[in-house]
Amino acid sequence: MSFIKKFIEQETVSRRNFLLASAYGISGAAAMRMFGPSPVQAATYADPTIAWSYRNRTNPYWNEIVSGGEAFVESLGKQKEFLTHLINEGSSEKSLADVKALLAKTNGELALAIDTNDAPNARPVVEACVEAGAYVSTLWNKTDDLHPWDFGDNYVSHMTWSDEGPAERTARILLDAIGGKGGVVHLGGIASNNPAIERLDGLKNALKDYPDVELLDAQPADWDTQKAAQIMASFITRYGDEITGVHCANDTIGYGVLEALRAEGMDVPIVTYDGNPQAVDLVAEGKILATVFTNPHWGGGITASLAYHAAVGHFKPSDEPNEHREFYGPTIFVTPDDAREFKTNYLENVPTYDWQDFWGPSNGQIMYK
């Protein structure tokens, strides 16, 4: 019976709202919204909807992000179902449309954590949230000219990872392992994705110090295991034994590369990125030389937490310094030496984070080139 009761309650509330709206005049309401982004006096909400918008559930990375978001929601004493999920399936259009629908549904009483799927999509998402009075924190994708501090309180924060440095470091591990000579190939993500570009740049930076190593080839494998396996097979045909090391843009690509090598009975050192559990196991087994853990669990939780706490008024984003609005996330290297220890500490026993320690584990303000 309870849902009927809930329905009746909702019905009365919305009718009241509706009557109010009509009394006020719809154009008036529209005008109010248009005056929207006033940096000084953003309204806060007692119990905003908390939502995470991400690409899909087929990649373990996003599952980790979601688990962090859910852990955060549970830390508020709510069921984890309280977290609303928006999945964009790799479509910027759906990402934006879903956010708009949720804004309309919640009437702006929303704390949104989002990866906008593609950098250009960040601006319209943020603008829509700001206009509706919702609070948004972004992760990974945004264009360089979009900054939280230009939007007052509603665009709370942006977190990303500087992948160039860590990717350079894994590259060095790889290049050292092959004795500083030979040839490496790189299998990248979707070519236009920022992380894909940075991770390749990291490899290129490292190569400058290794004149005897040649970058034989770099092709996009679109973060896809099966595609990675096929491209690696073609690489083997083309370069054969010239390949002495493989640099992968993420773990899922690494799996495909490993399988392609396995099919040939070849044993070539590889390094990956992301630190997914499966990859960490492979590192422990010595099949992958190194991966980089970006702690998506924490990232997922803290992004939602920032949006939420700003929305309920626990802190005022515009009072915070810029390094608290745009910052790098943490990176932890996983190598065969510490893989088991790492796994125990981070994956098997997920640490209980203090979701109000927003910037503790972060890595400094984002620098633009």
Binding site: N63, Q219, D224, T225, K227, Q230, R262
Partner: protein, 347 residues
Amino acid sequence: MTDISAQTEALGGLLTRDRIVRWAPVLVLVALVLLFPFFEFLADLVEGKEHVYLLDSRFFSIRNGARIGIAATPALMVAVGATFIIIMGSIDLSMEGTISVCAVLFAFAFLGWGGTLASWAWLAIPLALVVGALLGFVNGMIHVRLKIPSFMASLAMGFVGTGLALLLTGGDRLRVEDELFRSLLTVRWLNFPIMCYVALAFLLLAWFIQSHTALGRNFYAVGGGEQLAQSSGLNVARVRIMGFTLAGIFFAVGALLAVGRIGIAETATGNNFMFVSITAVVVGGTALWGGIGGVWNTLVGVLIVNVINNGMVVIGLPPYVQDGVLGTLVILAVALSTNRKSVTFVK
């Protein structure tokens, strides 16, 4: 007295137009197989390396043949399934969902029942095939009973399948590490991994169904003239549903090989199979309007697509032009293998 029996059209000489068109896909394949080594040859010539054409080619080697084989087998099975549907003049776009569901359920069962082929877990393989058949059956029922054109019915079923796989896994990936199962990829006979032979066996089975069973021939009847077949007493609705069911089974085989290839079952296992398999079927010379073609055409088509994909990387084509080259070659291959005299119009 006229001799009616003598009126049968003569088949003509060796190189009739019909014959050329029929063999066009094979010619394209051969041309491609000779073309890519030629680029290698040119590249080495420019660099001043010694290179005997074909003999020194890295592309034209048995090892690379095996690599193309590995890449092609799952797609081949999916395309073979789709071939039956296309011969009927319908289309099936549900493969991505079906593959994902089969792969995921297979992995769940396999891991749950022992995790190695040497235990009861082998039952997961027939289970996957049954699941594929079931999904195909539902697809066929929706198409036939609700009278929804197969394009739409199967497209929507594809969404349902992917959604179901997601619901089952919650987004997790399942690793199938059993050495015995993975011997599909790792053990080689005569330079080719076992999965190639499995695919070959199923290809022969498909050929057998196509040419030696009533059902297989009925696909051609439905594709050649549905209403005529109906009035000859053929239960067209049943043939259609059986066709989609059969396609589902082959999608399931494709799913098993895809899992065997990378050792991972996930919602994304089915990704990218739809357009590749349909393209391969058409490139092989099976007409989208039905009645013409068969599984050998599909083999050629799948090989063409995979040879192009492999060859482009091998000769070092820049990544950004690869899609365009693939598109151009596909148009070329289909244009060559279409008998313009037999087609009144194309949409």
